[in-house]
Point group: C2
Chain length 133, copies 2
């Protein structure tokens, strides 16, 4: 199946590129809607899934949030989820600091460990500031 490049898909991709947060499908929808008032939410979901299956974007499912978040940055990196405002923030930590944990977990386990999902929880700087006022 040849992947055609529709204007809607281009708009979705460039919207995602323009943000360093990690928008949900709903947020992408309302963002792209300004350029394409008639775009459908289903179109956004379909494109986000196709783009992530093609490896052009990343899809993150943080269990605590219950909604999927999408990321233009496909390089492996760590995420932080604020439990107060639900913001998803990239951590400046180098990813290879966590590359050894798979080997660690494999000790004494008879299955095959291929990878892991990891994210950090806490309170972001903005919320910490708001709490102090």
């Amino acid at each position: 199946m040849v992947m055609k490049f529709s204007r809607q898909r281009a708009a979705i991709l460039s919207f995602l590129e323009s943000r360093k947060d990690h928008p949900t499908a709903e947020l992408v929808y309302s963002g792209v809607k300004e350029e394409f008032p008639s775009i459908s939410l289903g179109t956004v979901y379909r494109n986000l899934n196709q783009l992530s299956e093609a490896g052009m974007i990343a899809k993150h499912s943080f269990g605590v949030l219950g909604v999927d978040h999408f990321d233009y940055n496909t390089n492996p990196h760590q995420h932080f989820v604020c439990s107060q405002c639900n913001a998803v923030i990239d951590l400046p930590v180098n990813d290879h600091d966590f590359s050894s944990i798979d080997a660690e977990a494999a000790k004494g386990f008879d299955g095959l460990i291929q990878g892991h999902r990891l994210y950090f929880c806490g309170i972001c700087r903005d919320c910490l500031n708001k709490n102090q006022v």
Copy 2:
């Protein structure tokens, strides 16, 4: 609000105690249904949530699965999710081997890291065997 201890809740708790896998609400429902044919799925969900809020059981949301899993074992330990059969398996690894990663992630980050979610993905022993046949 005083927590009353109904027979349904006792049955849900003891069903969970009897299993070392990590049943979903639906699975708890069909299990407890044998003892309580008239029990409602809503009752199961309500009790599982109350028990986990009370710290008597643990609730795990693995993003890859899209369903919540419940665990009688509330001691911190690591989990493995088989991407072929979706089984959730406890890893024999000591939990304190992963206790340092929060400090690692905090480097250069201005928010407050309170914890993390971590689980491992791959193929379990049973599926590896089946694949070889």
